[in-house]
């Protein structure tokens, strides 16, 4: 949850071109580097799609800010009604870990949650909290290997040093935009395909390409979640008071 915004931003922003001779490590580092922003505000619609086609929608807004290399993020649930005004706060600390709280309006109280819960489903969707934070690894987090390369894309295998959620990912990265067009997530055994993410629609915001719509499908169940960026703002000034316990509990700056 803590890295929700970083990598939603990571996921959707890309700008620079990559030279043809970069290594897999350099490409993935470039993906991370070019997709970051100092702050972001995202208005998201999550559509949960049953294998029989039945759909349920969740709307959230996320605010993110990075200062001195530390990222703070806040997520507000706008719908459905029974979770409206639920709020998540994540504050990255200098040791690289994050402190996270959730405010539950029905219980009128906030409680701290553990970072180990990042592997859990985000709002019942096919995205985990970790997926919402990042769908790719940088060169410090994983060993990257180029599997294929053609005129328009790279296919890169990433094996994380710490197999907390996945044992392996295979990413198809667009050479021009550096957007991950398709990512396959494998179990810790490295062979069982768990989920597949596909970029359905791209857009350009302030001259930067973004993945406007993505679909994550769980292979075993056929359940899918479509994530659409309804509104996006990057590098906008955000009041630091959003990322406080006061805002978490009151919803006010």
């Amino acid at each position: 949850m803590k890295r929700l915004f970083i990598t939603l931003t990571l996921l959707i922003l890309a700008s620079s071109l990559v030279s043809a001779d970069l290594s897999a490590n350099q490409i993935m580092a470039k993906v991370m580097e070019t997709q970051s922003s100092s702050s972001s505000a995202l208005d998201l619609m999550l559509t949960l799609i049953d294998p029989n086609g039945q759909m349920r929608e969740r709307r959230i807004q996320t605010l993110s800010q990075t200062k001195d290399g530390l990222t703070s993020s806040l997520t507000i649930f706008l719908s459905p009604e029974n979770v409206r005004n639920t709020r998540f706060l994540s504050l990255e600390k200098e040791d690289g870990k994050s402190e996270m709280w959730i405010y539950l309006p029905a219980m009128k109280r906030s409680r701290r949650i553990g970072s180990s819960e990042e592997g859990g489903s985000f709002m019942g969707s096919d995205f985990s909290y970790a997926d919402m934070a990042s769908i790719t690894y940088d060169e410090k987090q994983a060993v990257h290997q180029m599997l294929e390369e053609d005129a328009t894309r790279y296919v890169i295998q990433s094996i994380p040093y710490e197999k907390q959620t996945y044992g392996k990912t295979v990413s198809v990265v667009d050479k021009v935009t550096l957007l991950p067009l398709r990512v396959q997530f494998y179990d810790k055994d490295g062979t069982t395909l768990l989920k597949t993410l596909v970029t359905d629609q791209t857009d350009v915001v302030d001259g930067k390409p973004i993945a406007k719509a993505l679909t994550m499908t769980t292979e075993s169940s056929g359940h899918a979640t479509r994530l659409v960026m309804m509104q996006t703002r990057f590098d906008v000034p955000l009041n630091s008071a959003y990322f406080t316990l006061k805002f978490l509990e009151t919803g006010r700056l």
Partner: protein, 407 residues
């Protein structure tokens, strides 16, 4: 019905819907309804049906929020306010006034320091702690700092617990049913209550220090006349010196609550007044990182000082098996399944001295985002023959089905 129609009409006349929206950046109003029809069958074969219609109206400006939450209960044909409050926000401070509940305590399953409001046991034990509270008028001022906050509160009087005097959840002895009851004035400045809570986050530890000067929401009594029976209900003033804490030991959370209740009857000599007591709670909870399953085991205890075995002493009457102490175990599980469409909830309470227990089981299924169906079962009882709330509610075992619709 007329009152609820009027209230709904008033709310609907208000301006457009709204909730927090970073991109909208404007004042807003939100009006929503929750409809909950429930049908139940009790163990004594009595059928129960009830329709609750809840209305939530919220008005948000940058510096204030108005909130009205009302419930129409078809069984009572009455309209009740769950919350009527106005909040002001300025700088690092928030001021909230009106009728509402405000939780104290750090545990998830139950609390021993959540003292700001009385209990509402008109529907027995239910699977929502907030629904077993009676809202009360108060003013709450909160100052926030980076990792800490301070609350100061004032209550101009208090709302005693809703303890049913008739019906299946009645807690009043049958002998008192025909008594003339006189209750002390509870909504007067003389019955004021004050409190404060300081909370701080220290790494993985969240801790709070509590002080409260108020009344036990459950009454004591004195008999003023035997024939005809006449009773004065008396509420004991006390001071609470308490603490709350929770420590995150991933994936576990350890919570502790405790407090010393210093009664106005410090010597414990007045049978109509509650004595000094200690109350304590420890809870270990676990959330499965991948499956979101939540499991918690809590121990709750109490020790009453200068305990009297006089049958008319209020501490004796409130005790389990005539003991000065009380030990209760609570086990809770919640398991969301099928991408949160199906949620299983269960809770078991076992009161050791009386050997009484309550078991609550619930299943909820989301047909649509705003339409859930549910089934619930509640079982009360005791392993032995000792009397207790659990034993006396033995016939209140019930199976219920219903739905919740938000619109």
């Amino acid at each position: 019905m007329k009152r609820i129609c009027l209230a709904i009409l008033l709310i609907l006349v208000l301006l457009p819907l709204y909730s927090f929206d970073f991109f909208a950046e404007q004042a807003s109003r939100t009006v929503s309804f929750e409809l909950e029809p429930t049908f139940g069958l009790y163990r004594d074969k009595q059928f129960h049906q009830q329709i609750d219609l809840r209305l939530l109206a919220e008005y948000n400006e940058e510096r204030y929020r108005g909130l009205a939450a009302l419930t129409y209960d078809s069984a009572k044909n009455g309209l009740e306010a769950n919350e009527l409050s106005l909040s002001l926000f300025f700088g690092q401070h928030a001021l909230k006034a009106g009728l509402f509940t405000h939780p104290w305590g750090s545990a998830s399953t139950t609390h021993v320091v959540d003292v700001l409001q009385g209990r509402d046991l008109r529907r027995g034990l239910v699977d929502d702690l907030e629904k077993m509270k009676r809202p009360t008028f108060m003013t709450l001022f909160t100052s926030y700092w980076e990792t800490s906050s301070l609350e100061l509160l004032f209550k101009p009087g208090f709302a005693p617990s809703f303890l049913p005097t008739e019906g299946r959840y009645s807690l009043i002895p049958p002998a008192f049913a025909t008594a003339t009851i006189t209750e002390m004035e509870t909504h007067a400045l003389s019955a004021y209550e004050i409190g404060s809570r300081y909370r701080v986050s220290l790494g993985k530890l969240d801790a709070g220090l509590l002080y409260f000067n108020g009344h036990y929401p459950d009454p004591g009594f004195s008999i003023t006349s035997l024939a005809p029976l006449s009773i004065d209900l008396i509420y004991t003033r006390y001071q609470l010196f308490g603490l709350e804490s929770s420590l995150l030991l991933e994936p576990f959370t350890l919570a502790f609550e405790g407090g010393f209740f210093l009664s106005e009857d410090r010597s414990g000599s007045e049978s109509a007044l509650f004595n000094n007591k200690l109350a304590y709670l420890a809870e270990l909870s676990y959330t499965h990182p991948a499956y979101e399953a939540f499991v918690a085991l809590a121990y709750q205890g109490r020790y009453v000082f200068d305990f009297s075995t006089n049958p008319s002493d209020v501490d004796f009457l409130a005790s389990y098996d005539g003991k000065a102490y009380e030990n209760t175990l609570i086990f809770v599980v919640e398991y969301p399944l099928i991408h949160q469409k199906l949620t299983l909830r269960g809770a078991l309470t076992y009161q050791m001295e009386s050997e009484g227990y309550a078991f609550l089981l619930g299943l909820s299924y989301a047909l649509l985002d705003n339409l859930h169906v549910f089934g619930k079962a509640t079982i009360y009882g005791a392993l032995g023959t000792k009397s207790s709330l659990y034993k006396s509610w033995d016939d209140n075992d019930v199976v219920m089905v219903g739905l919740q619709a938000w619109f």
